[in-house]
C-alpha cells in the first residue's frame, strides 16, 4: 500500500516536473520557432495582437511585455553575430544600415536579462533622430565596451556575453518591407582573445 502511494506521488511529481520543464523549454529554446527571420534579425508580428496564440502570447509576455501590436510598431531582435555566435562584451561590432521606410526607429542594447546593461554610459540606444547617413547612404554605429572615437555608440560595457539588440520600427510606411538587405547589418570588427 505504502509503495503504491509512493509510486503515485513520484508519478505526479514527475509529471509536474516534465510539464514545467517542457513549458520552460517552449518559452526559451523554442522562441525562434514563433518568429520570422530576416538574416540575423527575428520578428514576431503577433506581438501584442489579440490574435496571438497562447505560445506567442506567453513568449511576448516574458520577453517583451507591453509591446505594441504590429499595426503601431515592429520589434526586431538580434542575438547572434554574422558567424552565429552570441553577442559578447569582449567584441567590437559595427552596425550599419540605410534609412528605413518608417516614421522613427531605434536600436537598443539589452543585457541577457532583457534590461539595459548595468553601466552609466547613457549609450543604450541610437535612433533615427540622432544618426545621419554618410556619403554611401549608410548610418553606422559602434557596439563596444568603450566609446573610442565612434560618434554613434551603443555601450556593451557590463552586458557580458549573450546580450541582444532590439530594432524598434514605429509607424512603418505601407511600403516598409523587412528583408535582410533592408535591415541594419552587424559585422564583427574584432574580439578580445580569452585570457
Amino acid at each position: 500500500m505504502l509503495r503504491q502511494i509512493l509510486a503515485w506521488i513520484v508519478a505526479i511529481a514527475a509529471g509536474l516536473a516534465l510539464g514545467g520543464a517542457s513549458a520552460w523549454a517552449a518559452l526559451t529554446v523554442g522562441v525562434s520557432g514563433f518568429s520570422a527571420h530576416y538574416g540575423a534579425w527575428s520578428l514576431n508580428r503577433a506581438a501584442g495582437s489579440t490574435a496571438a496564440g497562447p505560445y506567442t502570447r506567453a513568449i511576448i509576455a516574458r520577453y517583451g511585455l507591453l509591446e505594441l501590436s504590429s499595426r503601431e510598431a515592429l520589434y526586431f531582435n538580434l542575438e547572434r553575430d554574422e558567424h552565429g555566435q552570441p553577442l559578447s562584451e569582449s567584441c567590437i561590432y559595427d552596425l550599419a544600415g540605410r534609412d528605413l521606410a518608417t516614421r522613427w526607429w531605434s536600436v537598443t542594447l539589452y543585457a541577457r536579462d532583457s534590461y539595459l546593461a548595468r553601466n552609466d554610459d547613457h549609450a543604450a540606444s541610437v535612433d533615427s533622430s540622432r544618426v545621419s547617413a554618410g556619403d554611401d547612404g549608410l548610418w553606422r554605429a559602434r557596439i563596444s565596451s568603450v566609446q573610442g572615437n565612434s560618434v554613434n555608440w551603443l555601450s556593451s560595457r557590463n552586458a557580458r556575453r549573450g546580450f541582444s539588440l532590439t530594432l524598434r520600427v514605429y509607424n512603418p510606411q505601407r511600403d516598409f518591407a523587412p528583408s535582410e538587405d533592408a535591415l541594419p547589418k552587424l559585422t564583427t570588427v574584432s574580439c578580445a582573445s580569452p585570457s
Binding site: G15, G48, S125
Partner: protein
C-alpha cells in the same frame, strides 16, 4: 493496465496539463506583476515612470527613448475616463488586457490634439450620451500606457511637464 503503465500514463497526463496551464498562465501572472510594479496596488491613476536608465527594472526591454506613463485600470466599479494630453512629437496610448493583449492603440497621427477615452468592460452597455470615444476592455483589469518620444534629457523633462495633464480616473457616478 497494470504494473508501471498506469503511473507512466498518469505522469504524462499531469505533464500535459501542467504544460498547458503554465503556457496560459504566464501572460496573466506577468501582467499581475506589472500591475503591482507600475501602480503599487493603486488603480485608475497615471504613474509617470522615471527616465529609463540601466537601473530601470520595472518592465523588461524598456526603451530609453520614451517617457512612459502607466495607469493600471480597474473597471470593477464602472467605466474609467482616460485623457491624454498632446505632445509635440510621437505619442501613443495603448491599452492592454490582463492577458497582455494590446487591444487598442491610438497615436498622434489619429489624435493630434490628445485623446479622450471612456473605457468600459466588454459586454456592458455603453453610456447613453458618451462625450468621449468608448472602448471596450476584454478584462476588468489591465494597463493603459502612454509613450511619448523623448530621446534626450530635455525632451524627457518636457514630457514630464505635460504628463500631469493626463487623466485616468473612475467615471462611475
Amino acid at each position: 493496465m497494470s504494473g508501471w503503465g498506469k503511473y507512466i500514463v498518469a505522469a504524462l497526463l499531469v505533464a500535459v496539463v501542467t504544460h498547458i496551464v503554465a503556457i496560459f498562465a504566464v501572460p496573466n501572472v506577468l501582467m499581475n506583476v506589472a500591475l503591482q510594479r507600475l501602480g503599487g496596488g493603486h488603480y485608475n491613476a497615471w504613474h509617470l515612470g522615471d527616465r529609463v536608465t540601466a537601473a530601470s527594472r520595472t518592465i523588461v526591454r524598456p526603451s530609453p527613448d520614451f517617457a512612459y506613463s502607466a495607469c493600471p485600470y480597474d473597471l470593477a466599479t464602472g467605466p474609467v475616463r482616460i485623457h491624454v494630453a498632446p505632445w509635440n512629437d510621437y505619442w501613443s496610448l495603448s491599452l492592454y488586457a490582463n492577458n497582455s493583449d494590446n487591444f487598442y492603440v491610438l497615436d498622434d497621427r489619429e489624435a493630434r490634439d490628445g485623446a479622450d477615452i471612456l473605457l468600459i468592460r466588454g459586454g456592458s452597455p455603453p453610456p447613453d450620451h458618451p462625450t468621449a470615444t468608448v472602448v471596450e476592455s476584454p478584462s476588468a483589469r489591465g494597463i493603459a500606457l502612454i509613450r511619448r518620444l523623448a530621446p534626450t534629457p530635455d525632451a524627457y523633462a518636457g514630457a514630464a511637464h505635460v504628463a500631469p495633464n493626463d487623466i485616468c480616473a473612475s467615471a462611475a457616478r
